[in-house]
């Protein structure tokens, strides 16, 4: 068997103060469920208490669980509550979930997911269940630079985990470069190139001659042929601005 930490989609129920009255919560939740029963019935549900603050010790977790089950959801866990409240919830059969991400981190996380999806077919970086903020610090603490002096050939894949990649030779079409940080190619860049593979939006791509098939930073990707850049075959730098990949001359 394999036990792995993985990220999956969960519905999160954000409780408001008005929801402490379970009967009214039941009515509104039932209404929500009936909007898309195929999607919600038997789907896992996480309860988020961050909006309740101190009020959440008034919550009856046993009754909440029974009510959620009755509506056809599968109650999974509780998060963002004080420790003692979480312990009570735990006794009532709830799992304790990791804190949710801050809104800014949330965005990064999404990009990480998108990228994982994109490189799944190519043994790209494995998905990870730790929050993106944690990843960032991890990357900072153990940065590993990868330097390659030989050409990267068609069919070859290179992955620089937790760091930048530097290639001192050309890369071929049909090759694939993946790095958690930035990628530098001191030669022609011809294959696929994916920087910031785990969601680092500040990662960049640098090359002496831009002839790549596909460029990607933090999951935002573009086929070079679909780009209207006039820098094809020229020294270029690629960076991410918002959701857009910007290709600009190098130097």
């Amino acid at each position: 068997m394999k036990l792995k930490g993985e990220m999956s989609m969960l519905n999160v129920l954000h409780l408001q103060e008005s929801d402490l009255e379970l009967t009214s919560l039941q009515v509104s939740l039932e209404k929500k469920r009936d909007e898309a029963p195929q999607f919600f019935i038997q789907s896992p549900l996480v309860v988020d208490c961050s909006d309740l603050a101190e009020q959440c010790n008034r919550l009856d977790f046993g009754a909440l669980r029974a009510m959620i089950l009755e509506l056809g959801f599968i109650p999974v866990g509780v998060r963002s509550a004080p420790k003692d409240v979480l312990l009570v919830a735990n006794k009532a059969g709830w799992a304790i979930m990791r804190e949710g991400h801050a809104p800014s981190a949330k965005k990064q996380d999404k990009s990480g997911q998108a990228d994982n999806h994109q490189s799944a077919s190519s043994n790209g970086p494995a998905s990870d269940n730790s929050g993106s903020t944690e990843k960032q610090t991890q990357a900072q603490s153990t940065i590993q630079s990868l330097t390659i002096e030989r050409p990267v050939r068609s069919g070859q894949q290179v992955y620089a985990a937790n760091g930048d990649m530097t290639i001192l030779a050309p890369t071929s079409s049909g090759s694939e470069l993946v790095a958690d940080g930035s990628i530098h190619v001191y030669g022609a860049l011809r294959g696929r190139v994916l920087a910031g593979a785990r969601g680092n939006v500040s990662a960049r791509i640098f090359c002496h001659s831009l002839q790549a098939e596909l460029i990607a930073i933090a999951g935002r990707y573009q086929l070079l042929d679909e780009s209207d850049t006039d820098l094809k075959g020229k020294p270029a730098m690629i960076r991410l601005e918002g959701e857009k990949l910007i290709i600009e001359p190098l130097g």
């Binding site: 068609s154 069919g155 030779a169 050309p170 071929s172 049909g174 090759s175």
Partner: protein
């Protein structure tokens, strides 16, 4: 110190066997004791190209399986001294090749004092091709001037530098690029990739360019190695390749468009 050289390409039909035959003949003609091994088990061709098909008794797989000795299986070339051919089996498949078996044959050839062991790789990147390149010290990658051939060569170069024994032990296989079936007229016309483009894409040192030539076909069909045809351009180009391989500095020939001969030039030379 004997050297193992693999002639490989990834793609089929680009001229691996022709090159193996010509290159091995050229080395032997220079006085080096040379063996050429056909790794294309099941699709044996080298014996035909070298004109020894009627002299095959035992083959490579027989030697690996211990059914014959290496001496029994090696065919001595009648035109070039020092040249020996180890044919592939036609009735078996690539699975008959084992790493241990191939290694023992190569080691025995080394002990017998062979200077060069040329391994003629089958097409593809499967077992036969892998076995042919695994023990190589140097590689001649044969490429035609067209995009699919160049990409396949690129792929095989990647495999050479990651899965060969030299690579596994932290070393590298020395690479040589050989462009075959080159037609300067068609390059000029834009139908073929130019020599410089291929070298730029693959970034491997060029060891030679063999012009497209009818003499190659004639030589193959008659079982004479083209390198022995001193009149043909292809034969001369292969001779240059051997010289460059041995460290001589020989300029490239037959890479420019030949001026069309006028009527009188044709008549009076």
């Amino acid at each position: 110190m004997s050297k193992v050289i693999v002639v490989t390409s990834g793609k089929g039909g680009v001229g691996k066997t022709t090159t193996s035959a010509a290159f091995a003949s050229g080395l032997a003609a220079k006085g080096y004791k040379t063996a050429v091994i056909d790794f294309d088990v099941g699709l044996r061709n080298l014996d035909l190209i070298m004109g020894v098909e009627r002299r095959v008794v035992y083959d490579f797989v027989n030697v690996i399986n211990g059914e014959s000795t290496l001496k029994q299986a090696l065919i001595r070339d009648k035109r070039v001294d020092n040249l020996y051919i180890l044919p592939a089996s036609q009735t078996r498949d690539k699975d008959a090749l084992t790493t241990e078996g191939v290694e023992s044959v190569i080691n025995e050839l080394k002990e017998d004092g062979f200077d060069y062991i040329v391994c003629d790789s089958p097409a593809g990147i499967e077992k036969g091709a892998f076995m042919a390149l695994y023990f190589a010290d140097e590689a001649i990658v044969v490429t035609n001037p067209e995009v699919s051939s160049v990409r396949d060569s690129d792929r095989i170069l990647g495999i050479l530098q990651s899965r060969s024994r030299a690579a596994e032990q932290g070393g590298t296989v020395k690479e040589h690029l050989l462009i075959t079936r080159y037609s300067p007229d068609r390059v000029e016309g834009g139908d073929m990739l130019g020599m410089d483009d291929i070298v730029e894409i693959l970034s491997v040192p060029l060891i030679g360019v063999i012009p497209e030539s009818e003499s190659v076909l004639q030589a193959s069909n008659s079982g004479n190695s083209v390198v022995l045809d001193e009149q043909s351009h292809a034969g001369q180009a292969y001779t240059d390749v051997v010289a460059r391989f041995l460290g001589e500095d020989v300029p490239l020939r037959f890479i420019d468009v030949q001026p069309k001969k006028g009527f009188f030039k044709k008549l009076f030379g």
